[in-house]
Symmetry: C2
Subunit: 97 residues, 2 copies
DNA sequence: TAAAGTAGTTCATTTTATAAACCAAATTTA
DNA sequence: TAAATTTGGTTTATAAAATGAACTACTTTA
């Protein structure tokens, strides 16, 4: 049977953000925006969802007088991402009977 | 950069249906329902979307006096599924340098 | 001090996902 | 043989999600 997929990761933008953070561990808002190609509004919303789920940790500070939103992947986020990857495999391995 | 993902396949149920059809090529409504664990209503809707996209071909006939909905994956469906798989890789390969 | 730029957030709209309710025909039960 | 049940789905109502435009707040530049 096909394993359940985490709906939070079944989204292009959230998956891209998580994928990027899996490698770099931490990134600011604009870097994530550039890397994912997202609009600011969309990214803001999706970052909040990932944070609410505990997949990333968000720290709001300042850099050069400007607001700076830093996102870090959490252990729960890493686990979720890896689980998602494994579960996804069940959809791509030759399976029936 | 992360490659665009086909939204039609970025759905658990449609992906499961397509994954199953990739292997068996053809299946009836109830088999798909069992294999994917979907409800009838949901499966009906998603089958229509896949058909509208040309990813599957649907033939409605009868078997033992009962309606029988047969779904076959199309060449376009196979291509889309394979492309989806490849594009998905860009999210799971270590990328940022 | 007005205009433009930076870094985001909120909101309004459209699109989806989903199960409940429904339908038509066949079959079983009483 | 009429009523109830089963089969094989479809339609619909509702909630949830995705998205960009509009907005906020502050800073820098002219």
């Amino acid at each position: 049977m096909y394993e359940d997929l985490d709906n939070l990761l079944l989204s292009q933008l959230r998956l891209a953000a998580m994928s990027y953070l899996m490698v770099v561990k931490e990134a600011d808002f604009n870097t994530l925006k550039e890397q994912t190609g997202a609009t600011s509004g969309n990214l803001s919303v999706q970052i909040n969802k990932l944070q609410e789920a505990g997949y990333i940790q968000v720290e709001k500070t300042y850099r050069n007088n400007y607001p700076l939103t830093l996102c870090q992947i959490t252990p729960a986020g890493i686990e979720a991402f890896e689980a998602f990857y494994l579960r996804l495999q069940t959809y791509f391995k030759e399976k029936p009977e």
